[in-house]
């Protein structure tokens, strides 16, 4: 570990040329705000934590004595757990604030909640909120680094980072790959963050969805839209499935889950259109038989679903480490 970090700090590191530090951001709010080399820096930092997490002895408690608040204003299981494990593994004191325990339910405004959290003097806050832009709004009121764990339909940066890390490790690169993101694109922050990240790292990105779940003017984000699943999967290197939320039926977006699976489910037959070494991903939790055939999800050769979860912890450790460096007084890092 020490070696990896010293190399990142060394003047030889290209991002450090001229004395700039490689991640000049106080918060991690949106990938749209990051330069490609900043994304690559976070990925390289995360890479080291993958090996560390697999080791038996894990004694690096660099965040010891720091307080990390996970404020989830929207329910979450795996992201909240992943952030908690990431923080604890680095030695931070992790406190979780769930939606049911929050004063938001008692009518407190979001900004009052933010000021209250700030007064507890945390060292880093992880926030998820159901409204696009909400995390940025809170971050403006907080004196510590903020990690966006998902804001409305806007962004979910650590998810896209872990997806990119998974792809890079499996495929050896991202540049030049064709990635199809399939499903409920309209309501998906995972899709939006991945569009930003994959396009900035040089992948060709497709959005595959029924017209009712395809955001308009998506071409403006550098994404090719497909409303035919088979055509959308033709020749792709990576298929990224999104979770279909059943409440979409009520809003007249779709007639039924069985019709959705018939035309947009990931089946063997459709997957045959992709490259033979295609990688199948899903941010979870999966609806087997709705968006993905069970056998594909469980195929350890093609499916990277559990690996994504593993990469998630590493990516979040890297983000927590990088964002707290200024507070920890690491030389060369300023807020």
């Amino acid at each position: 570990m020490a070696e990896t970090h010293s190399s990142a700090h060394s003047p030889a590191h290209p991002a450090l040329a001229g004395g700039a530090h490689p991640f000049p951001h106080r918060h991690l709010l949106a990938l749209s705000a990051l330069k490609p080399w900043e994304v690559r820096y976070l990925l390289s930092e995360a890479e080291a934590w993958v090996d560390y997490n697999r080791a038996v002895s894990r004694g690096d408690h660099r965040l010891a004595g720091m307080t990390q608040i996970n404020a989830f204003f929207e329910p979450s299981t795996r992201t909240a757990l992943s952030f908690e494990i990431a923080g604890k593994r680095l030695g931070a004191d992790v406190v979780n604030l769930g939606v049911s325990g929050s004063s938001v339910k008692k009518g407190e405004t979001l900004l009052d909640t933010a000021l209250t959290l700030d007064a507890m003097r945390p060292d880093v806050i992880v926030i998820r909120h159901g409204s696009s832009g909400a995390v940025q709004l809170i971050a403006e009121k907080l004196g510590c680094p903020v990690l966006n764990a998902g804001d409305g339909r806007h962004e979910h940066p650590t998810q896209a980072l872990l997806d990119a890390l998974t792809i890079r490790r499996r495929k050896g690169r991202i540049e030049g790959l064709t990635v199809a993101i399939c499903g409920d694109i309209l309501h998906s922050r995972v899709a939006r963050s991945n569009f930003q990240l994959l396009a900035s790292l040089g992948a060709k990105v497709r959005a595959v969805a029924p017209p009712t779940l395809m955001p308009p003017f998506i071409e403006g984000l550098g994404v090719d839209p497909y409303t035919d699943m088979a055509a959308g999967l033709d020749g792709v290197d990576v298929v990224m499935m999104l979770r279909l939320q059943t409440e979409r039926m009520v809003g007249a977006f779709l007639p039924s889950t069985r019709e959705y699976f018939r035309f947009f489910g990931l089946t063997e037959a459709r997957l045959a259109r992709a490259k033979p070494d295609v990688l199948v991903m899903h941010p979870g939790p999966m609806n087997r038989g709705v968006e993905i055939e069970s056998a594909i999800a469980d195929d350890i050769v093609r499916s990277a679903v559990t690996e994504q979860v593993e990469m998630g912890v590493a990516v979040r450790m890297a983000c927590l480490d990088v964002l707290t460096r200024a507070r920890r007084g690491i030389s060369g890092w300023t807020a």
């Binding site: 409204s131 709004l137 962004e155 984000l221």
Partner: protein, 413 residues
């Protein structure tokens, strides 16, 4: 009414009366709360003289659609009459409420309420339009939203036409824009905001002008903000439908790119549009399709605006900045100054049957005196109350020097 003030002479300003076409350096004489003369005769010895050289003297602005009867804000903005939207608490759906609202600003600013078209603005049962008219309502309005039912709208227009009351509508198809906080486009998609297509406006206009045509009703679309919506208005006017269109500064000055960073001050209703639509609004002003310019004054507390974009209340405070922002249209060569002042006073006064908007002899002495070129920067210190404006920090030119209502000088700046 208080005792009439001493006679007043506004001396040496560029006097513009959009109603008569007068535009020359002259003196304006006021006595007994009305305009008694205009010309170059010297003021009588007992008159108070205000030197207006280098300034513009015009009819006080008639603001066609505010959400708060905010006397102080109107004075700062040179507004002497404000047409009040029925979206109050409780909604103005009853003659007694209309009557009360009408008295709110007097004597400083006269408030002319619009009665809610339907009870509680709920869009189902007609309000007592005739009784409300007797109580002082100058028109009917559907409020912040359109009426979803075409049948109710049809009946409302037919009924209002019988009293020759103008019906002020909000042109967004209610079902299509449900939950939407932005216009469909690359920006809304990038930001992950719930959006509705821009043509939701044209759909609403097409329906309402067709219904108004069938009923012979007078229709005023308070804000037309899209190219397609303006085409609907042009086509309807060409075939003789009695329809007029208005706009507020946000839609000719800003487009959807202002949403970047989730600025909730830029959450407006209708939402900001694409650049092509903004340019179409400018063209609509130029060719006269849009004949009314209003503030849409809708002050909001910080609590209502300091929210995530989708949760923030829509609307902007605008009475204070209406004139300065509108003068940009003159500097950009879109409108002549007399035409702009007409859109800000004479046309809305005529639309709602109000006195004012004219400097003819015997008209109430409602006047604004302003310095067309005086520079200033929009900021909270120039607002009467809430300063929720997307133009915060914008340098503008055009400063109100006097707001005169019924011969009383209410504001000197």
């Amino acid at each position: 009414m208080t005792l009439a003030p001493r006679p007043l002479c506004l001396r040496g300003g560029r006097v513009i009366c959009p109603a008569s076409g007068h535009d020359a350096v002259s003196n304006v004489m006021v006595a007994g709360r009305v305009i008694v003369g205009m010309g170059d005769a010297p003021p009588p010895s007992d008159a108070d003289v205000v030197d207006c050289s280098g300034l513009v003297v015009a009819p006080g602005l008639v603001d066609a659609g505010v959400f708060r009867a905010d006397a102080r804000a109107c004075q700062l903005g040179g507004i002497t009459r404000a047409v009040l939207m029925p979206d109050q608490t409780p909604p103005l759906d009853d003659p007694a409420l209309v009557s009360f609202a009408r008295g709110q600003g007097k004597p400083d600013v006269w408030v002319h309420p619009l009665v809610a078209g339907t009870r509680g603005l709920a869009g189902s049962e007609l309000a007592e339009l005739g009784l409300a008219r007797e109580a002082g309502a100058v028109g009917v309005a559907t409020g912040r939203a359109g009426i979803a039912s075409a049948q109710v709208m049809h009946r409302l227009l037919a009924y209002a036409a019988n009293f020759d009351m103008v019906v002020v509508v909000h042109a967004e198809d209610p079902a299509l824009t449900e939950d939407a906080v932005a216009t469909e486009g690359e920006y809304a998609t990038r930001l992950g905001l719930a959006a509705a297509p821009a043509f939701a406006e044209a759909m609403a206009i097409a329906r309402d002008v067709r219904l108004a045509e069938a009923c012979g009703a007078r229709l005023h679309i308070r804000q037309v903000t899209t190219a397609e919506g303006l085409d609907e208005v042009r086509a309807a006017r060409a075939r003789g439908v009695r329809v007029t269109a208005g706009v507020t500064p946000g839609h000719w000055m800003l487009n959807e790119t202002a949403l970047a960073g989730f600025r909730s001050f830029c959450r407006l209703s209708p939402p900001l549009r694409c650049e092509e639509d903004r340019l179409a609004v400018v063209e609509g002003l130029r060719d006269g399709t849009i004949s009314v310019v209003a503030s849409g004054h809708d002050p909001k507390s910080m609590e209502a605006k300091r929210q995530p974009f989708a949760d923030a209340a829509p609307g902007m405070a605008g009475a204070e900045t209406l004139l300065a922002l509108s003068l940009s249209l003159v500097r950009d060569g879109v409108l002549t100054l007399p035409r702009l002042l007409g859109a800000l006073s004479t046309v809305p006064a005529g639309l709602f049957g109000l006195a004012g908007g004219s400097l003819a002899m015997g008209q109430p002495a409602d006047l604004v005196v302003f310095d067309e070129g005086a520079p200033w920067r929009i900021g909270p210190e120039r607002f009467a109350g809430a300063s929720n404006t997307p133009f915060d920090g914008l340098p503008v030119a055009g400063l109100v020097r006097r707001t005169i209502k019924g011969g009383d000088i209410l504001w000197s700046g």
